[in-house]
Subunit: 234 residues, 2 copies
């Protein structure tokens, strides 16, 4: 069955969250006299991401927008660093750094090519408002915003992929998940979707991201431009 | 409080459903030897719209995508005309006519101006997939698709306006509903939103649409270009 829609992981696959958050943290916290390895700060913040979502996925906590999880996780990281003096306004501003993440170099052009042939939507654990802001920041044109908020659960729960395909009006077989993370794609395949792996070898620092998929995928590409070429887009 | 987001009624406000459906019906049904006043056919089909949604709003029927209501309504209209011979494939094709409605002349340019300053989303009773197809057909760039499907209820229920504003990350006061129908706007105002009335005097035939709002609105405009000018958009 022909692929009609592509749905995308965003953090890591389309945007370089690590460099962007390190930059945001440095800009907002160093004027307060604080200093650390800002990339490690970004890693520490991101490391709280899965445990926070797991509480929702397990039913221990109700669904909430990712901003709320990010904010709780930020407070944990600041506490751990002994930086309790960071004021509320700065914390709020820094938390919105996740709405201003910069894309990997080829993304805007790659999405433009892919959109000539496919319906495109993010399928992220980020909520609709965050996705709107990232799209504006990076000049992306989504057809709709799908993902966690419309499913009221977080990836890799099958419902998130399935609800995203259904919202766009396509079957899971007509929909392909595009991501730089094998576990996301394995879960999407289990939910009935096709899969495209995008190499992001530098996501977690130089050479520390996934450069090769850990299991077989329908497509594997060096980046979105390569995927567009493999899919026959002009 | 400043307006940050504009959410739009679509059928009648952005697209001329009556001319488009009359054209689609003529193209698909006249080859079968059928003939009628095709604009009256469009009116008859549209007249079944509110009664069908009322079953959902009243709780008599669960939420479903508008395609399903449109299809049931089409069958009613064909039955009433004694046109039982219309085959299943033609009915399906005609029902998808609602995904190919043509916009009023200034809409694409008006939305482009408004998007320079505001987050834009449809707030229609049409579902996400239908909105995606209308946007592609008419070359619109929405930031997200809000409306009935994310609220799992139909306008004018307050939750549809409120859930749309919340999904975009704005309060109801920061969000303005834009529509050519006073009843839609009165419901939006009751739900806490700001309101902009757009005159569409020909929606139901020449001079038979609303050209003046039936109650006071925050803005009243001749069309989207006029609204963009009133809102200070370049």
């Amino acid at each position: 069955m022909a692929i009609k829609a592509l749905i995308f992981d965003v953090f890591g696959t389309l945007v370089d969250w690590r460099s962007s958050i390190a930059h945001e943290a440095k800009m907002l916290l160093s004027p307060l006299g604080l200093s650390t390895d800002w990339h490690a700060f970004a890693d520490d913040w991101r490391n709280e991401y899965q445990p926070a979502m797991e509480k929702v996925r397990s039913g221990q906590r109700g669904f909430c927008k990712l901003d709320e999880l990010h904010r709780g996780n930020l407070d944990i990281v600041l506490e751990r660093l002994g930086w309790q003096q960071v004021d509320e306004a700065t914390r709020q501003q820094l938390n919105l750094g996740w709405h201003r993440l910069d894309q990997w170099a080829e993304v805007q052009q790659g999405l433009t090519r892919l959109r000539q042939q496919f319906v495109l939507a993010p399928c992220s654990n980020g909520h609709i408002g965050l996705m709107v802001n990232l799209a504006r920041h990076n000049h992306w044109h989504w057809d709709a915003i799908t993902g966690a908020e419309i499913a009221r659960d977080y990836k890799p729960q099958a419902i998130v992929y399935q609800a995203s395909a259904a919202a766009l009006g396509f079957t899971t077989e007509e929909t392909m998940m595009v991501a730089a993370h094998s576990d996301d794609l394995v879960a999407a395949a289990r939910a009935g979707l096709k899969t495209a792996f995008i190499a992001r070898p530098d996501e977690h620092g130089p050479g520390l991201g996934e450069s090769v998929a850990k299991s077989p995928m329908d497509y594997s590409a060096a980046d979105l431009m390569d995927l567009a070429t493999q899919l026959g887009c002009a």
